[in-house]
Symmetry: D3
Subunit: 164 residues, 6 copies
Amino acid sequence: MTIAICPGSFDPVTNGHLDIIERTAAIFDKVIVAVLENPSKEPLFSAAERRYFLQKVLAHLPNVEVEYFQGLLVNYAKSKDAKVIVKGLRAISDFESEFQMALTNKKMNPEIETIFMMTANEYSFLSSSMVKELVYFGGNPEGFVPPLVVAALEEKLGRRRSGK
Amino acid sequence: MTIAICPGSFDPVTNGHLDIIERTAAIFDKVIVAVLENPSKEPLFSAAERRYFLQKVLAHLPNVEVEYFQGLLVNYAKSKDAKVIVKGLRAISDFESEFQMALTNKKMNPEIETIFMMTANEYSFLSSSMVKELVYFGGNPEGFVPPLVVAALEEKLGRRRSGK
Amino acid sequence: MTIAICPGSFDPVTNGHLDIIERTAAIFDKVIVAVLENPSKEPLFSAAERRYFLQKVLAHLPNVEVEYFQGLLVNYAKSKDAKVIVKGLRAISDFESEFQMALTNKKMNPEIETIFMMTANEYSFLSSSMVKELVYFGGNPEGFVPPLVVAALEEKLGRRRSGK
Amino acid sequence: MTIAICPGSFDPVTNGHLDIIERTAAIFDKVIVAVLENPSKEPLFSAAERRYFLQKVLAHLPNVEVEYFQGLLVNYAKSKDAKVIVKGLRAISDFESEFQMALTNKKMNPEIETIFMMTANEYSFLSSSMVKELVYFGGNPEGFVPPLVVAALEEKLGRRRSGK
Amino acid sequence: MTIAICPGSFDPVTNGHLDIIERTAAIFDKVIVAVLENPSKEPLFSAAERRYFLQKVLAHLPNVEVEYFQGLLVNYAKSKDAKVIVKGLRAISDFESEFQMALTNKKMNPEIETIFMMTANEYSFLSSSMVKELVYFGGNPEGFVPPLVVAALEEKLGRRRSGK
Amino acid sequence: MTIAICPGSFDPVTNGHLDIIERTAAIFDKVIVAVLENPSKEPLFSAAERRYFLQKVLAHLPNVEVEYFQGLLVNYAKSKDAKVIVKGLRAISDFESEFQMALTNKKMNPEIETIFMMTANEYSFLSSSMVKELVYFGGNPEGFVPPLVVAALEEKLGRRRSGK
């Protein structure tokens, strides 16, 4: 059984993330979506909120689990018996940093393989930070994030926008 | 059982190709190395020679087969019940054309997934055409291609170099 | 009145070309689609065929004309009193050569401005040569080119494919 | 009448910005230079100062106005009846983020078109932040920014440099 | 006698930096490794620590000196009678910003030349910040930095990691 | 004494080439401009013509010699006791292939170092093939190539253009 990990901040999950996770679930036996808890960053949504959104929108995929992780990704992967890390690539914008990370991870643990999928065309411009900025400036994120995230974004950022 | 395809011209196979195929064989149940027969191109080695080199150097991998293919890759993949196409990416040089091909293949058959692996550091500059040019100008391709290909290259290109 | 030129080989016109031309026609008073006659290249479709396809699929746009051109684009633009050349950019694949051409044209005639539009997401992987290759290998180009071009491609390339 | 918008922080305006604005003014009927007021960023120059510099150095162009804007650019453009947003592209450094923004804006309002101009050769390395860094470390920004901005930069940053 | 400068933050020095400095020392008469003291940034290691590491690991190269610098690099180079600035390039990740800096420096002082070397293959993914992040998350930086830096990193970041 | 090599086809030499050679001559003791004789390519100008142009336009530089070379560049460099190969980089368009060649050369002979200079701003779009295309289509190459090359281009390509 091959276990694959889809790591990320998912702050919040976008339709682009979902697309990558669903395609990963179609080719590997088991997928662990790993939500990064990074104590040195301040996410918009707590790790618990981010995991909750993922669990809700991935509930239809029986071979997908959502978990937290901290520290080095390759160590986490090893602890889960995962052989594969899956990342989405959007045009060139992710290429360099992903390349650097994949080579570093390979050096840290050569038995864990990083593979890449091209982000679907319609999500090639999509990122969590772009969605947050859009909502902050009053834009409508429908079509970019799942419906339950649309509401959550508006609540968090609408309040911030109006300075409350 | 997930079947993956590693397509290419392999004219000739390089150590960079081998690295990608071996890593693919470690994460998928079965790997088909598909040698492109393109009637409109003139390869240095015939399809039979290219397949022979691959069979020899991949003989230690029980879950790898070497075959020929023509026409559209997604059609070939479907005929083999393969769900996954695996390509190696070298820094930026392959990125654009691979991106275009992956999106086109996705449009032709959304059920077949293209995934990418970063070429190992030590092969990031390696390509079949670079090796052929190197040998043509009198360079030594050891370390770039498997030993049996070193000899074959020298025989074909050494003769051409001396104008015979 | 500002006249804009959309130059290209259009061998054949794709839905990506149409998208750029339609968007150009929405912001400039008059648009000249200029079909390149390059005596040193062998197109699949003759200049007359390429112009005919464009005229048919652009017939709904009253401010668009389709013409031939040869030689230096800036000279042609000047002869037509056009101030603007419009090019589509697909992710990074066109960027470098377009950049070089725009700077060269600027040097040849600083009064003619080259502007760029990002190709729509759904056509970002699309090119005339990709479509021709696809059809040559037996793929279906529907959704990539206008319907009348689908038929013409199949006629030309299907015959070539079967070696007649 | 086609109205085009040249948006930016202009903190401060550089000769590269001026070049793009002048070329835009040559091909569109009316140009609105839109100075971004972003409450979450701390610019070196206040929005009023940035607008003043622009008004002074653009005074010779009768079809150019300088205004403030906040919030989503496409909403602002619509409120001004502008059909076109014009951005300058410098080699590859701006390409990715501009691509992302253009596609996002297109999704938010498909009637507003983003077009790009290649930055003139001699300004291809120029950015407001580079100029600020240069002056901060004691360099002379003449030739990079208009003369009245040279003096203003020296006053602001010279003081900061000497720790007062 | 041609004097070359290798400038950087070196926070801390990596094996990639050492490779570039050693190759520079092989082609120029004298090399000054210039440690940037930037009052507006908070490095992990003090300038004195960074210089000490460099002096230790470069002690075998008689034509290399390690010094501090502040302010504009071209001014510093001139004060040292250096004609050449040497920078390492890693794949595309450094290209754009290095290009911008080289052109700016050229404009500030055309007599000082910036030259580039490709980072050796095995260090192409290596950066000081990547190493710091790796150690912060519990990874082992051996092979990435010289042995005396391994110990120093663990001491500084291990403490920070455990929140002391 | 450090000897540097500036290799190229120089078919024909452009002002961008001259800029790189002059800057190289300012930092190295001796510079060998090495004109590639590639039997498998058909240049516009013969090797003798290309060398003659270079000798004429470089006559003012006493430490520059113009020679022919064939075969592997690193072997040629070694035969000339040259330690350094100098290449010009134009924005991103040369980066990838230069990167690949530099790494290959390093592998073939680690004692020969390849260094890069950024092409001056005003030549960043310039290449021999662009100039040839320009003249072929009737454009004026003044400012792109030295005056004696302007005449030679017009003679060769003007004749070809008019089909004689």
